[in-house]
């Protein structure tokens, strides 16, 4: 009997706790409303420029699809989440959302009906946005063409599919609140910090996450992941062979390429395409802020960079069989060297005149990273032109080279163009990338 009482008591406690949690987790619905019939044109234009910085399109527009109609699969550690339709369609989009409902979603991660939203939607950043900017974003989204489209259902592992649990996640990891200026900093850098944190949500990819998918604030910008890509550190530990400057970051963010750094690839290329539509001054302060976070490079790093640039400028075309172009690694890794010479050198070091402007790989960040992931992604898929998305800058080698050959090439490039230890188990990294692609059905076409 006593046991039953104990069990009964425990059940009651659990029930009360569960009910209490549900009460705690509950958010009320905000009534459907007709958005204003028109918006101030200036406000809409400002919203457009802010949306470009916020990179909204990347998660809410499928490649080649209608703008903001959603459906983009976003892989997370807990399964696949799909970007939603944020066009003003009343039934499938946000057409029935009042500005209040929109603001609540951005600031609290709760949709109009009162459901908690997954933090793949970076409300942990957007919560810091100013009222005026939220109004502008609302005006912009509400004036987009309405598209009737429902995103596919999320595919999440148990128990992540149970949304009320997100209230607990928020309790642990989510701090609502506005952005606060650093009084010791300049207005420009504060503006840059605001844009980087509250809107561009750089940290969503460039800050490492804990086991429950929350950004580790103490390690802000120390490097994270984005899909199958490594997002390099953008703090003092930034691994770029040539230290970034405010100017080079501006060029990179705005145009997708910067001298001595190469071309943006992977998810970052999307970011730069969006930033091309942002206010130039905003991109400039964003770049200035990130440069500040990276800090002034050491004398030694500067010297090394100068040396690398000079060597790159004088490097003879590797695909020419003269002894002076052969480094030590070529003798040790002849197969990788032949692959590099026949497949890569034509752009990456054959004099680089006339637009075959593949970067000298000694300057490429992807070759310096701890994981071969980014290098392999580029080799497999190539790179499209940041300016002309349909134009191929570098072709992918996914079908051309065997996995073995890609591994040989990666080992050779790492040995020749970085001062880092060899990549551990490149073959395993490559297998992992391939498996994820088969899962995502994104393997390159024949």
């Amino acid at each position: 009997m006593r046991l039953i009482k104990v069990i009964g008591g425990l059940v009651a406690v659990v029930l009360v706790a569960a009910v209490g949690f549900l009460v705690f987790a509950h958010r009320s619905e905000i009534a459907a409303a007709d958005p204003p019939a028109s918006f101030d044109r200036e406000l809409v234009a400002r919203g457009a420029r802010l949306a470009a910085i916020g990179n909204c399109r990347s998660c809410h527009t499928v490649a080649g699809g209608l703008a903001y109609a959603g459906g983009v699969p976003i892989p997370t550690a807990f399964g696949t989440i799909h970007g939603t339709n944020i066009t003003p369609d009343r039934d499938t989009g946000i057409g029935a959302w009042s500005q209040e409902a929109f603001v609540r979603s951005m600031r609290e991660g709760v949709d109009r009906a009162g459901n908690h939203l997954y933090p793949a939607f970076p409300y942990d950043h957007f919560t810091k946005l100013e009222d005026g900017d939220l109004a502008a974003l609302y005006a912009y989204l509400m004036t987009r063409p309405a598209v009737r489209a429902t995103a596919p259902t999320n595919d999440l592992a148990f128990p992540a599919g149970f949304r009320p649990l997100l209230a607990g996640w928020k309790l642990l990891f989510f701090q609502p609140g506005r952005f606060e200026d650093d009084p010791r900093s300049s207005p420009e850098l504060n503006r840059g910090a605001y844009l980087a944190d509250a809107l561009a949500h750089c940290g969503a990819c460039h800050t490492p996450r804990n086991g429950l998918g929350a950004q580790q604030g103490r390690h802000e910008f120390a490097g994270g992941v984005s899909a199958s890509w490594a997002a390099p550190a953008i703090d003092e530990s930034n691994p770029a062979p040539v230290p970034w400057t405010s100017e080079s970051l501006h060029a990179y963010l705005r145009h997708g390429r910067a001298e001595h750094h190469g071309v943006a690839a992977g998810p970052m290329q999307d970011v730069t395409r969006n930033l091309a539509e942002a206010e130039d001054d905003d991109v400039r302060v964003l770049a200035a802020y990130v440069a500040t976070r990276m800090g002034a490079p050491s004398q030694e790093r500067e010297e090394r960079a100068k040396g690398l640039i000079a060597t790159a400028a004088e490097r003879l075309p590797f695909n020419v069989p003269v002894p002076e172009t052969m480094g030590a690694a070529a003798a040790r890794l002849p197969a990788g060297a032949a692959l590099y010479a026949g497949a890569c050198a034509v752009c990456h070091d054959a004099g680089r005149t006339g637009g075959m402007d593949g970067i000298d790989l000694a300057l490429a960040t992807g070759v310096q990273l701890a994981s071969a992931r980014n290098f392999l992604n580029v080799v497999l898929d190539g790179i499209h032109s940041p300016r002309h998305p349909s134009a191929v800058l570098m072709p992918g080698f996914a079908g051309a080279l065997t996995d073995e050959q890609i591994v040989e090439l990666a080992a050779y490039v790492r040995a020749t163009y970085s001062n880092q230890p060899p990549w551990p188990d490149i073959a395993a990294t490559l297998r992992d990338i391939r498996l994820n692609r088969i899962a995502a059905n994104a393997e390159a076409r024949p």
């Binding site: 044109r41 809409v44 234009a45 919203g47 457009a48 080649g64 209608l66 703008a67 903001y68 912009y140 004036t143 987009r144 063409p145 003879l316 075309p317 695909n319 020419v320 069989p321 003269v322 054959a350 004099g351 005149t353 006339g354 637009g355 075959m356 032109s385 002309h388 349909s390 134009a391 191929v392 800058l393």
Partner: protein, 749 residues
């Protein structure tokens, strides 16, 4: 001194010498500079023979029959992928009454074919097609007469077929048995006994093209595929900026590379020859990496290109001026249109093979004009023209004057350095992109007065560089400008009407009571330019037909109805009506979906060639600014349609190429060099841009003269797209190309 100044100032100086040069050139102008005309040394004949017969009147210049009965037809025109060989064979076969496969066609070869100048200006059917049509009909008549003499019958009683002349009594005699050396060695007469159009067996049929099987099975179809015994490979090292001059090279290091046979340097012309092709590429890379250069071109600020061009001196000429007093009132409109530099962008970089032996020089080339090229090479090498043979072999599609002639000169310069060895030179991709002569940037300013919904007054000013710097002279060949003793480029000249250059198609076909059209020719060339398919017609038709829509909108009229209200030319009306009907203009125009628009464009190429009208449905994505062509429907009248599918193929191709120019293409450059150096920096139309549907409807006109087709679609297509974009988005874009950034910016948020 920088080399742009050599480029620009030398031209300026020559142009500035004035009357003497002009006076000297006038006599040649009609031959050498008019894009499609023949470059012949012989004077024109007084008799008006049809087509190219007037320049080569002997029938056996065109048709030879061996004693075996083998028939060879010769044309001075070249196959450029337009299917001309097939059409010419059809014409000859029809008029000679033989099967098409019985005919061997020899194309442009200075040793064996008539001089028909350039294969350009959509003149091949008009010139060569007409010549062969008449020569073949006359040859057949001669053969019939010869047979009549043998049979002692009247010619009218005889019939021809299958290469024989047959008598009603059953006797028959093969063409081969009839011919003697002199039989066809007679001058053609102005009139020909053409077969009645109702009895056509070969003409008017879409027979399969003779050049395709070898191309799809990997045969040696192109000059690129020519492999001669002992052939070696050459590559040229181009300067970093067109105006740079070579300072120093590391010849010894390059010579040590495997396979290298010669490093050839003459002034700033630098090249290497190696035994194997890839060895040559490797040596070229090392030579390029170790060469040092001085100076550079001074190119215009790219954001101020049109201002720069307008600020240059121009030679102005009213090509049409008809004033009538206008009643007061009405409404005037004005609009200015711009076109940037655009590329030919052949998929295969230009290629040639040259062989210097004893006192002969043989050049295998995909030049559009083997005779004019021979003249230029003669001047370049100092060899007599009779010592040089230029043989046309197919290249990758050229779409006008690309690197074909220039690479032939490169091969010749290297062949002279290595006598006895055939030297093959193919340009690298970046050479083709950076050094081909571009289609000129242009500006067109149009104005009109509307009264009672009709155009009462019209004016059109067009600014452009020349549209032909084709050889003729050594100085028209790229490498000749870099030699130790460089050749001066020919002074730039406008191409005269009625074909025109920058002013091609500047005169609308519409009924305009009061009209002024002024060609403002700019001699000075900031970038090297020449003929690109359609020449000025692409831009002028884009401007005229865009403006027609602007006027129709101002008049509150339907675009198609507005055109018809100003069009009296019956064949013009037919293509407009047919394109609108096939498109379903009336039925669908009123029910356009939001974001979708319809556009129309019409022109008769050069006002002399084929008629084309095109209707386009396009979708404009407001968010991205991307234009998607949903469908395009064309109606075309090329006169008598020899091969209707060939016409459709040309028009479809013209439409898609024009869509590419119109939506994507712009040569980009900085202050010293062209930065559009590969397909990544010069994007063109891809499969993802292919419309869902393209239709071409051919209006056949049996018995009517052939009208050139290859360039008929480009202008109308450009305007139809721009008009569809305006219809879909509500914004009128007058600057080419209509790329998504421009469309997005025009739409705003």
């Amino acid at each position: 001194m920088t080399a742009t100044s050599t480029f620009l100032s030398r031209r300026t100086v020559i142009a500035g010498t004035g009357a003497l040069v002009v006076g000297f050139s006038v006599a040649r102008r009609a031959f050498a500079q008019q894009e499609p005309q023949n470059v012949g040394e012989e004077p024109r004949r007084p008799v008006a023979l049809p087509g190219s017969l007037k320049d080569a009147p002997l029938i056996d210049s065109w048709i030879r029959i061996e004693a075996t009965g083998a028939i060879t037809v010769m044309t001075g025109k070249a196959e450029l992928g337009q299917g001309i060989k097939t059409a010419l064979i059809q014409i000859a076969a029809e008029q000679l009454d033989v099967a098409p496969h019985a005919i061997t066609l020899v194309t442009a070869d200075t040793a064996s074919t008539p001089n028909e100048g350039y294969t350009a200006g959509s003149h091949s059917m008009q010139d060569s097609g007409t010549a062969i049509l008449n020569a073949a009909a006359q040859a057949r008549a001669i053969l019939v007469n010869a047979a009549a003499a043998r049979f002692a019958l009247a010619a009218g009683e005889l019939k021809t077929g299958d290469g024989k002349v047959a008598a009603p009594d059953g006797r028959a005699i093969g063409y081969g048995e009839l011919v003697s050396t002199e039989l066809l060695h007679v001058e053609a007469t102005p009139a020909s006994p053409l077969k009645d159009t109702s009895r056509r067996l070969v003409m008017g049929r879409s027979i399969e093209r003779v050049d395709i099987p070898v191309k799809v099975t990997g045969g040696a179809a192109y000059v690129h595929d020519l492999r001669l015994p002992d052939m070696v490979h050459g590559r040229v090292v181009r300067p970093p900026s067109p105006g740079a001059r070579l300072k120093a090279i590391d010849e010894a290091r390059v010579r040590r590379l495997p396979g290298v046979l010669a490093v050839v340097r003459n002034g700033s012309f630098l090249a290497v020859v190696a035994a194997r092709e890839y060895q040559c590429v490797q040596a070229m890379r090392l030579l390029a990496a170790t060469a040092t250069w001085d100076g550079h071109s001074d190119l215009p600020e790219s954001g101020k290109l049109y201002e720069t061009l307008l600020a240059l001196p121009s030679r102005d000429n009213d090509i049409l001026h008809r004033s009538v007093a206008l009643p007061p009132g009405g409404r005037t409109l004005e609009a200015t249109y711009h076109r940037p530099y655009q590329m030919h962008g052949s998929i295969g970089p230009s290629c040639a093979v040259a062989l210097r032996e004893a006192d002969a020089l043989t050049v295998w080339t995909h030049s559009q004009g083997v005779y004019p090229l021979r003249g230029a090479l003669s001047e370049l090498t100092g060899l007599g023209a009779e010592q040089i043979r230029c043989i046309h072999m197919e290249g990758s599609g050229c779409y006008g004057h690309n690197g074909a002639d220039d690479v032939a000169a490169d091969a010749v310069l290297l062949a002279i350095a290595l006598p006895g060895r055939p030297v093959r030179v193919q340009w690298m991709r970046e050479d083709e992109h950076r050094f081909e002569p571009y289609g000129p940037a242009m500006i067109a300013r149009l104005g009109a007065a509307l009264q009672d919904g009709r155009i009462a007054d019209w004016h059109h000013d067009v600014w452009s560089n020349t549209h032909s710097t084709r050889p003729g002279k050594a100085g028209d060949l790229l490498s000749a400008l870099y030699l130790q003793a460089p050749f001066p480029p020919s002074p730039p000249r406008p191409l005269p009407q009625p074909d025109g250059g920058g002013d091609r198609n500047a005169i609308p076909l519409y009924v305009l009571p009061s009209v002024r059209v002024t060609n403002r020719f700019i001699p000075q060339m900031p970038l090297r330019v020449s003929a690109l398919r359609g020449l000025g017609a692409y831009m002028n038709v884009f401007a005229i037909e865009s403006f027609m829509d602007e006027l129709a909108a101002a008049a509150g009229a339907d675009p198609v109805a507005f055109r018809l209200a100003h069009l009296e030319d019956a064949r013009g009306r037919d293509v407009v009506t047919e394109a609108a009907r096939r498109f379903g203009w009336q039925a669908t125009h009123a029910q356009r979906r939001p974001g979708f628009g319809h556009g129309f464009g019409f022109a008769r190429y050069k006002n002399l060639g084929a008629y084309a009208a095109i209707a386009v449905e396009a979708e404009v994505a407001r968010e991205s600014g991307r234009v998607r062509i949903v469908r395009a429907v064309a109606a075309v009248d090329s006169g008598e349609a020899v091969n209707p599918d060939g016409i459709r193929n040309q028009i479809e191709g013209g439409m898609l190429q024009s869509a590419s120019w119109t939506l994507f293409e712009e040569v980009r450059f900085d202050r010293t060099h062209v930065t559009s150096a590969s397909w990544a920096s010069y994007p063109i139309l891809r499969f993802s841009d292919l419309p869902e549907r393209i239709e071409v409807h051919v209006i056949d006109r049996p018995g009517e003269p052939f009208l050139g087709t290859g360039e008929a679609a480009q202008g109308p297509m450009a305007a139809a797209i721009a008009n569809a974009v305006a219809d879909a988005s509500g914004v009128r874009i007058r600057d080419l190309p209509l790329h998504k950034e421009r469309v997005k910016a025009a739409i705003g948020v």
